[in-house]
Symmetry: C2
Subunit: 437 residues, 2 copies
Amino acid sequence: MDAMRVGIIGLGTVGSGVVKILEEHADLLARRTGRTIEIVKVAVRDLNKPRAVSLPSGMVTDDPMSVATHPEVDVVVELIGGLKPARELLQAAIEAGKHVVTANKALLCEHGPDLFPLARDRNLCIAFEAAVAGGCPIIHVLSQAMTGNQITAIQAILNGTSNFILTEMYHRDQPYADAVKEAQRMGYAEADPALDVDGTDAAQKLGILVQLAFGARFTPDQFIVEGLDTIELADLQYADELGYAVKLLATARLVDGALEMHTQPTLVRHEKPIAQVDGPYNMIALEGDAVGRTWFSGMGAGQMATASAVVADLVDIAVGRAQLTYPHLTLQSSDPAIKLHPAEGIERRYYLRFNVEDRPHVMADITHVLGEMEISIASVIQHEAPEPDEVSLPGPPIVPLVIMTHRTTEGQVRQASAKLAALKCVREPRVCMPVSD
Amino acid sequence: MDAMRVGIIGLGTVGSGVVKILEEHADLLARRTGRTIEIVKVAVRDLNKPRAVSLPSGMVTDDPMSVATHPEVDVVVELIGGLKPARELLQAAIEAGKHVVTANKALLCEHGPDLFPLARDRNLCIAFEAAVAGGCPIIHVLSQAMTGNQITAIQAILNGTSNFILTEMYHRDQPYADAVKEAQRMGYAEADPALDVDGTDAAQKLGILVQLAFGARFTPDQFIVEGLDTIELADLQYADELGYAVKLLATARLVDGALEMHTQPTLVRHEKPIAQVDGPYNMIALEGDAVGRTWFSGMGAGQMATASAVVADLVDIAVGRAQLTYPHLTLQSSDPAIKLHPAEGIERRYYLRFNVEDRPHVMADITHVLGEMEISIASVIQHEAPEPDEVSLPGPPIVPLVIMTHRTTEGQVRQASAKLAALKCVREPRVCMPVSD
């Protein structure tokens, strides 16, 4: 039986998972491809580190470039992440005539414009199901199953770590810092979870989905990207009281021919499917002009879910599907006809929370500012101030005020926020989150 | 640009939708395939019937066989449904060297064993994304995106009509008959909705998914298939009181190496994703040994969702993907190693409802029967009987009794039901539904 020979760069969590599947499901994979999938060479950073999988010693090297360019390797699987040296390795692999499978969304986001055409010009493919929503085959769905549709909207939870943190906070009444610690303890968050919780990771993944769905390339510096850092447990509780969950939503949708795009903590009505996704799961809600609304959900990360995505790509290459699909993906360039909707003009409802002094005329001052900006108030929550003896600061007591607006623009809300911040009666924290339609 | 030439048999709702997509998205499809997709010939039953789409008059015929075997047709799309003459048409098309796209689950369920190898032996393919869960690309997912997994369980809502009826009953407090009428008015149910509500349609679709996921062929006569006909509004209300929704669930899962398979109205805890699928939507919850739990949801039927699935298949054939995928699908034979778990031995919790006489010793009689069968009671609902003057019949008042059991077997429950039916104090209706884990 004809063998497909694989080189793997990176034998961490996901790499070990890939080796495990290729070994344990060798028969199954042979039936599904008509070929054997053989691991030829594996690169690790530290040859002496103990591994979860055992490989023949001659198979393992600490020279990743020797795997990328190995004459007996047909496909290079890159699982080290980061930009350097991943970029050089993939470029060398492609120049040496290898197909590439990668889980590296940062790399695709940053260097896709160089690497994608490099592969296509050589009749090779770059497969990256594992780069977005490991347990949820959204790349296959967009590239193959929705081809009869003009995609009109993507709304997604793309970062499992953030979703786990929000779920922990909400269900266990935990402050943000404790939920982050729990995510680290469970292995969902890195020691430095910055890229997960600041929205960058989700925004990079959204960029990849947008390129496939709309044929246009936008990077996180071009659209609104906000993280969880301003969100407190109190916001989840107020949102709940108003009938909403808070989710870190990555959104792209066509509005009057322009693309509205943002990654932000967002209020979503409890009864919507995306509000009900808990823990380290991802969900992508996709709208097509023919198919209507669809939802896809699976683990956002984790060893075996991501490994499953890598192996699906290997199977596609072994069968020859990926080579047929890749040249037709809209990865090679950005369609100049697709413009980003200016952030200032994006229209939504908003949730505002700030602390205010609990004294006469405060509500009048605040509503005056909103009225001046033509922002209409949909609902207000202000609970009674605590008893005076519980308040330690001098001056009028400080109470939280929550306002839900009617539809307005991002620009108007930003201006109103700046004006409100200048009021003497308004104090930190000031939270502003959009509300999903 | 190289053209792929298509013949369409059936220009009803879905057929018109396919024509619409091929016309409106001609440019998009050309970009995604590198070819044009051209309609060459279309067969209708009645040439004089007005159509939603206009086609050149020479293109339309009332002789479907002339389309199936047309020398200029590369791919035949069959959208007439039913077994006759669909089977003869597809066989003729394959024998004439055409690829086939079909939405006909009944045909695949009944005649798949003849048609599937016929196509493979001629290096042709049969594509059928539209046959199961139109708006949800579950065939693509199982055939391509989950290939690194041994699928361990499928739990699915596969009949949009039934789900719409259950949703109407539950949310509008409507009796079954009124909900069926509403489904007909909305176009979700046929004038004769028998195959939708008796579970046959969902069971046929489950058979197709099982063949792809487990490589074994089982037909609805071989496993438990129950419909909505015994369910009353009261059952949805009691289930709700107990914390459950009622869904027509199609289930297949590996238990100790054997396949447990059934299509039944089933109690599902409200917080589970599949309990929250409302209206004419489908959902497939899929478990793989690597990927873990995944969920896929979209419209269960409807013109454009199903047409979207047909066009995705056409694109796959135009690109050449389908031809590579088809030979590796486990459709050609049934794996003799995969056995069905005997229905009697399937272990679950159960919901039982019957009317009982409201007099001393009745509960003792009933619990004695259950005790004899070693069925342990988890919870009981018996509300107070109505005031005597509201009861028109002579004799003791009749009250509904609802019992939730602990885990027991289908065989024990069936025996217990027969014994309970024989008790003088137990009256019709008698409802028995399993509870999903």
